[in-house]
Every structure is written in C-alpha cells, then in structure tokens.
Symmetry: C2
Subunit: 259 residues, 2 copies
C-alpha cells in the first residue's frame, strides 16, 4: 500500500527538478518535431521529462501503472490499482512559440478515484495542486471554492480546435451566451482557470486522458462539475469531449448542447 | 515645446502611482456598472484612474489634448499638436472577473506621429513601453524584433467578439490557417503578444482609439505591420478593425480577407 504523504513529497521534489531542467534548457535547441499535424509538436524536452518521470515512478512505485503522452508509460486498459497520468509539457505549441503558458501535469488515481493532481505553470512559478479531501491550492495556499455562477454571468475558456470549426455553431452559441471567450491553448491552465473562478466553464473536444486527469481532481475537490458533452462521467481510458464548470453553468451548457 | 524626457519621467511616476492604487483597491467593492451591454463594464476604478491622469496631464501639459475611454478627456477631431490616449483599465471584464489579464495604457502622439506608448500589465508587474526610435522594452529591457513569420508559421490572437460571430467565416479561416488561436480579452496585452513574437498577428474589430494607440507605436518601432481590414492606415480619430502583425502574416491575412 502506498503511503500518500511519502508520494506527495516525492512528487514535489520531482516537479522542482523538472522546473530547474526546463529553465536551464529553455534557450537551447528544442529539436521541435511534428507529430500528427503542423500544430502537433513534440520537443526533446517533452520526451526527456516523461522518460525521467516514468523511470522514477517505476523505481519508487513498481506496482503502479503509468499513462503518459509520449509513450514511455504502459498500455493501460483498466483503472484498477494505482494509475499515474503524465503530461510532461501541456501546451507544447505555447512552449515552442511563446516560451510561456505551458504546464507540467501529473495526477494519481487509485481504483479510479483521484488521489492527487498537479498543474505546474513553470514560467509563472505557480504550482496548482490537489489531494483528495484537501482542496486545491496554489503554491500551498488553498483556493476558495468559486461562486456558482451561471453561463451568462461569467467568461468561458475553450479550445481553439473546437471553437474554430465552422459546424460547431452550438459551441459558439454557448460562447456568445457567456460574457466572452478566452483561449489559452493549455488544457491544464484552462482547468486552473475554472478552479480559480476566472471562468465559469472550460469546454474542449477530444482531450487525451493526461490533459483531463488533473483537472478532474480539481473539479471534484471544489464541488464543481466535470462531464462529457453528453453529460456522462469522464472516462480516463479514452479521449473525451469535456466540460469543466460551475454547477449552474453545467446546467446551462448541457441544455444548449441538447437543444 | 514639450521636453520628451521630462514627459517620460512623469509618465513612469504616474504609472507607478496607478499600480499602487490598483493593488490597494483591488479587493474593495468595485461598483461594477454596465455601460452599453452585459459585457461592457466600467468600474469606479476605471473612472477614478482616468480622472486623476487627465488632471495631471492638464496641469503639466496644458496645451495638450486628451482622448480617454471614460470621458474625462476632450472631444478631439484632429491629430494636430500633442494628443494623449488613455485607457485606464484595458480588459475591464478580465479585471472584474479574473483580477488579472488587464492593463493600464497610455500613448502620446505629436502631429499624428507616435512618440511614446505604455502597456502596463499590473498583476504581472510588466511594463511594456516604447519611445520613438528607441524600440520596445519590457521593464526597461529592450525586446528583440520578432522573426518575420508567415500566418501558417505561428499562433494568432483575436478578439472574442469578432471570432465568435457566425458570419465571420473568413476570420475563422484565417485562424485555421494559423497554428492556433489565442484570446486574452485585452487589446493591449494582445498587442504586446505581437510585439514579443508570441503570436504572428492580432486581429480585432471595432477597436476604440485608446485600444489601438499604444500597439500602433509598438508595431512602428519593431518594423511590424499595422493596418485596417481594408489594408489602410489606422485612423486614431475613429473606431477601427485592425491587424497588428509580422509583415509576412500581413500579406497572408490581407489576401484572405480580400479573396
């Protein structure tokens, strides 16, 4: 049985090491490569960070399973036992083009229940973290639960890929019902925006498990809503169209998606 | 005749005072009011900052004209002489809803030529400034001229109001030709993104003179492009649909707008 405090201490240490590594290497040649498309980039840093992390997890927690973006993890087909989700650099396009607005992400689930989650905004030096039953914190300072605002009472965040599709008129209707749309290009940082109450919802399509796993823990801890576009629970073994939101914005958005 | 160095020193002092005022007052009741629409908000801080600034400008530079968002300035119908543009809080919606991602903006023109410009990201404590012939700086450190990337080689920033309109299919085409769209909700901070090279273009419709005046100086200083959607120079006496961009992205975008 894992000792959760020991695990948290290790994770915090690893994240600190990753931060130093990124800051050191940021100005070196990134060896940017295209994965599936022009805007699906991977750098040697994505790979190197994940490889190191997976190695450490395997050493300290040999019975655990790992789901990682860059393929150093396992082929996981069940949430039984302890499953780690790793996104070494969430927002790689921002990382390459802006050298900011990206995050290192990690989440740990036990038998399908989120135990801890981390979204580390490296350039801002802001670590958002959650542990089961302990709420969500920024650099150790606990965040207040956001007000339960409706869709029209707040801003929303959305993924560029989704919002720009010509046929997605309902998504733009949802955007136009809100006070305005913000797009940051990082699922992790946009999950944080919901957790902070800076937006009432984050809507994105086709997110990978590692994009979603930390935010799901944040929503749980803050009593907020996390569902798919068909109002089902999010399944971390597959890709999902997701809505992270206040409870009231959840009702408004689901009504519009199913109108 | 104005002494530009004396003016710069005064402006920097005023901006420092405004920063202290905002940080002091941020947690007080903002007295948010709607102006023309649900998402066109004004706070007592917008008004108070502009009122104080206009008072100071009138005292030190009694012959100058002032164009301000909140109406404490003059009714300006010509760019002759010295004209100040003030946006006390650019991104008021972010200010109210997020308590970040807003900027204090100021620009000074003489006979239609930009002399100095300031975009102050208060919560990040980053002051972006330009003086004619002196380039653009962040907290006094000069920014490099961004690479002249084409539209498809970079991200773009756009205004939510523009991008979400159903009929604006060409604008979304432009977004989809780029590597991705980012929306911050502050014309000032989005102008800065272009100046930093974080995006290759910022596209927005119906911007007011005070939204555009500082970014126009930034573009000029960095040898970048600043035009209307019809490829005309931007007129600071009226509202404009604007494109701030690299020279190559400018060509790509104008071609698509006029296809």
């Amino acid at each position: 049985m894992t000792n959760p405090e020991n695990r948290s201490t290790l994770i915090l240490q690893w994240l600190k090491e990753i931060k130093s590594y990124i800051i050191e290497q940021k100005n070196s040649d990134l060896n940017v490569e295209q994965k599936t498309a022009d805007n699906d980039l991977v750098t040697k840093m994505d790979r190197s960070i994940e490889e190191q992390l997976v190695k450490k997890i395997r050493k300290h927690f040999p019975g655990d399973k790992v789901v990682g973006e860059e393929g150093f993890g396992d082929d996981v087909s069940s949430m039984d036992g302890t499953v780690w989700f790793i996104d070494p650099i969430d927002g790689t396009l921002n990382f390459v083009k802006q050298q900011e607005n990206f995050a290192v992400m990690l989440a740990v689930y036990e038998d399908g229940i989120g135990q801890s989650a981390y979204v580390f905004d490296i350039t801002q030096d802001k670590l958002y973290s959650a542990t089961k039953g302990g709420g969500v914190s920024r650099n150790g300072q606990r965040l207040a639960e956001p007000d339960n605002l409706s869709l029209k009472e707040g801003l929303i965040a959305a993924s560029s890929a989704l919002m720009m599709k010509e046929e997605k008129t309902t998504i733009r209707d949802i955007g136009n019902t809100s006070m305005g749309v913000r797009m940051l290009g990082s699922a992790g940082l946009e999950s944080v925006e919901v957790a902070k109450g800076s937006v009432v919802a984050y809507i994105a399509s086709n997110l990978k498990p590692w994009d979603v796993a930390p935010g799901l823990v944040f929503m749980e801890e803050l009593g907020m809503s996390a569902v798919t576009f068909t109002d089902e629970p999010i399944d971390l073994l597959t890709n999902n169209d997701i809505i992270f939101s206040t409870k009231n914005a959840h009702k408004d958005i689901i009504k519009m998606l199913n109108a």
